[in-house]
Amino acid sequence: MAARPKILIVDDNTDYLFTMETFLSRNGFDTVTAEDGKKGYELALKEKPDLILLDIMMEGLFSGFQFCKKKLADPELQDVPVIGISGLGDELGVDTEKYKFIKKYFSPETFFEKPVDKEKLLAKIKELIGT
């Protein structure tokens, strides 16, 4: 049996980690989770996931943006696709059209707003991983 693709979920909301873990594991993926960007990055290097699901507005110094910036310069991780998740979206101006630095990290199709449409997310994950 072929190995299941592995997804790293990084989010400081433990409810979200648990529900997303349940959802992905029931849809054919293995999951590893981290509650902050720093731990997430360490886990990414250790586990070599096929895809990263990343909350971009985590508390603390190591936010989703810092995660992406570091990852882009890291030969070990730069090719791993990232899907950005946020609850802030347009209200506070996190607008992929307006802010080019977000575009650098996420194309509009790989940036999801909470509450996440799970079916669309699943389709995007499959497309990026190529399953």
Binding site: N13, D15, F18, T19, F23, R26, D55, M57, G87, L92
Partner: protein, 377 residues
């Protein structure tokens, strides 16, 4: 100079911007105009009107100007308006002198009584028959109230953005929890169903807190005072937040002095206040990554012979001076994605309604204590 302070040869002055047209066919209005005279009408205008020369020396002012800034004629515009020897950086009068056009700027001025006002200033040229600008008329309208409303609207907009974000996160929790419950039921897995249901319940508590805070901050609610025991109020709130604390590995303790008498307070407000303070304390523990487990202690005890206090102590991240000084400003939140900033605003409102006061003791990296002191009535 004639009596309104204009140059003596003002018969030659043509001012298209200040021409008052006839009031049409209504002769009564025209007669009233004629009786009042333009000088009186200019005096009655609810704007500060002044005419200035090249050196910004005031030649004429209307009565509204005199009421708020004194006579001013013969003095420099910036001295009268701003009590400053320096010209304004964006002076519209100077611009009008150089290009003969109408200009506009927003300025903060200081009235004779020492108060500051914000004004919107228009400048218009007064030209002679050859088209040379001989003076500039400046009309400044007080927009302080408009500016205050703008600020309130900005805060309101910001609050909607933060609330909307908070609600989105809760929705995510509700939807995610419901999904897990569904999966648990489908698989006849009671453990998974229970875990999903816990997520749903926790998010129901969260949404009730957010909604009640919105109501408390928006509505003018008359407090309903009753005699209650501070101990029972604290215990009720601790019970409500136990689930949330447990899920974040925070031990929630309640330690109240049983000899405290019953006190006259609005129980619903005090519970709301404690809920926000304890909720914040739990969040402060969550932010602290240095320890695996944390403790939040809620106390109710005598403060002195005539006062009692509620105390909420946590061993979470603590705060620096900057955070502490911004605590009670509307919609200031240190909780990033997990805070609307509304909680402490509501706390502040409730304390004021009860004639109490708050003390905040905090050390970065060690934790914080919020102590609310009320008179025993």
């Amino acid at each position: 100079m004639n009596k309104i302070g204009c140059p003596a040869d003002n018969r030659k002055i043509v001012s298209p911007e200040t021409t008052v047209k006839s009031a049409g066919t209504d002769t009564r209005i025209s007669e009233t105009f004629a009786e009042l005279g333009y000088k009186t009408i200019i005096d009655l205008l609810p704007s500060y009107i002044s005419i200035q020369d090249h050196s910004l020396r005031i030649l004429f002012v209307n009565q509204t100007f005199k009421n708020d800034f004194g006579n001013g004629v013969g003095e420099l515009c910036h001295v009268v308006y701003k009590k400053s020897e320096e010209r304004c950086a964006n002076c519209p009068v100077q611009k009008t002198f150089s290009d003969k056009r109408v200009h506009l700027s927003e300025e903060t001025v200081r009235l004779s009584n020492g108060e500051f006002s914000q004004v919107i200033v228009y400048s218009a040229p007064i030209t002679d028959i050859s088209g040379n600008v001989v003076a500039v008329m400046e009309m400044a309208t007080n927009i302080t109230r408009v500016k205050e409303m703008q600020k309130e609207l900005a805060i309101l907009g910001q609050s909607f953005a933060m609330l909307s974000h908070d609600i989105k996160n809760i929705l995510e929790g509700l939807q995610g929890g419901a999904y897990v419950v569904d999966e648990g039921l489908k698989d006849k897995d009671p453990e998974l169903t229970r875990k999903g249901w816990e997520v749903v319940k926790k998010n129901i508590t969260e949404i009730s807190i957010v909604v009640q805070n919105i109501l408390y901050s928006a509505k003018k609610r008359k407090p309903r005072h009753e005699r209650v025991s501070p101990d029972s109020l604290a215990r009720e709130v601790v019970y409500l937040l136990e689930e949330k604390a447990k899920s974040l590995n925070v031990q929630l303790r309640c330690s109240c002095n049983p000899s405290l008498p019953q006190v006259l307070v609005d129980p619903a407000s005090i519970k709301r206040m404690l809920c926000n303070l304890i909720g914040n304390a739990i969040e402060a523990c969550k932010l602290d990554k240095e320890k695996d487990t944390h403790t939040v202690t809620v106390r109710a005890d005598f403060y002195d012979r005539t006062h009692f206090a509620f105390e909420v102590e946590d061993d979470g991240v603590g705060m620096d001076e900057c955070t502490k000084s911004n605590l009670f400003k509307g919609f200031f939140s240190t909780k990033g994605c997990n805070g609307t900033g509304l909680g402490l605003l509501v706390v502040d409102k409730i304390i004021k309604e009860h004639g109490g006061r708050i003390e905040v003791l905090t050390t970065p990296g060690k934790g914080s204590t919020f102590r609310v002191i009320f008179k025993i009535q």
